[in-house]
């Protein structure tokens, strides 16, 4: 498979999955705010956004296995940057919650944070054409 085809397939999967994740999360939140769902139903329906989130990671994994080694190195760097930021925020704020009674931060935001940092990092590390010396 060519890199272009792999990229088209990746974007064709991850963009709809991200939109569906946001829509499902918003819909659940709105239904919860309106008191439309019992707690048990909320637990059960949380499978929808979680499944979509796992679909995004599956698309990323498939993409990593289909592109060439240089493009893969950029994706891995982006993913690592996302992981570092997420773990730093989770651990740092978690410690503040434990020790300094900081206001709780919803873990929900860690997933969007990962994708935002990953996207910015990939753009930062993206291929830049340079003339050979």
């Amino acid at each position: 498979m060519t890199n272009e085809k792999a990229t088209r397939r990746y974007l064709g999967t991850i963009i709809p999955a991200a939109i569906a994740f946001i829509a499902a999360s918003l819909a659940l939140k709105l239904m919860d705010n309106a008191g439309m769902l019992a707690v048990e139903a909320l637990y059960a329906l949380s499978i929808v956004p979680v499944g979509l989130m796992l679909g995004m990671f599956w698309a990323q994994w498939r993409y990593l296995n289909q592109i060439d080694e240089y493009l893969r190195s950029i994706q891995v760097k982006g993913g690592f940057a996302g992981l570092v930021v997420v773990l730093t925020v989770a651990t740092g704020w978690g410690w503040l919650e434990l020790a300094a009674e900081a206001p709780p931060l919803s873990m929900f935001w860690l997933n969007p944070l990962y994708w935002i940092v990953y996207s910015i990092a990939v753009m930062w590390f993206r291929p830049r054409d340079e003339a050979a010396a």
């Binding site: 890199n3 592109i67 060439d68 080694e69 240089y70 291929p127 340079e130």
Partner: protein, 64 residues
């Protein structure tokens, strides 16, 4: 790692896009390898050398 890809490519009149197509990699990868920003794996280095019909040492120089 220094390399002579640009020279070998120019000798054959190939653009980066043509070389990328022959190697089944992206043009960005060819540019990154050619400019020394990315060192290819051993299998890719051998594919590059084989494509040019020369030993891998003729293409890549690991001396600083």
């Amino acid at each position: 790692m220094k390399n002579a890809i640009r020279q070998f490519r120019a000798d054959r009149g190939w653009s980066q896009a043509v070389l990328a197509e022959k190697l089944d990699i992206s043009r960005q990868s060819v540019n990154a390898i050619e400019t020394g920003r990315f060192d290819p794996s051993l299998p890719l280095a051998f594919r590059i050398a084989r494509l040019f019909g020369v030993p891998v040492e003729a293409v890549f120089d690991d001396e600083e």
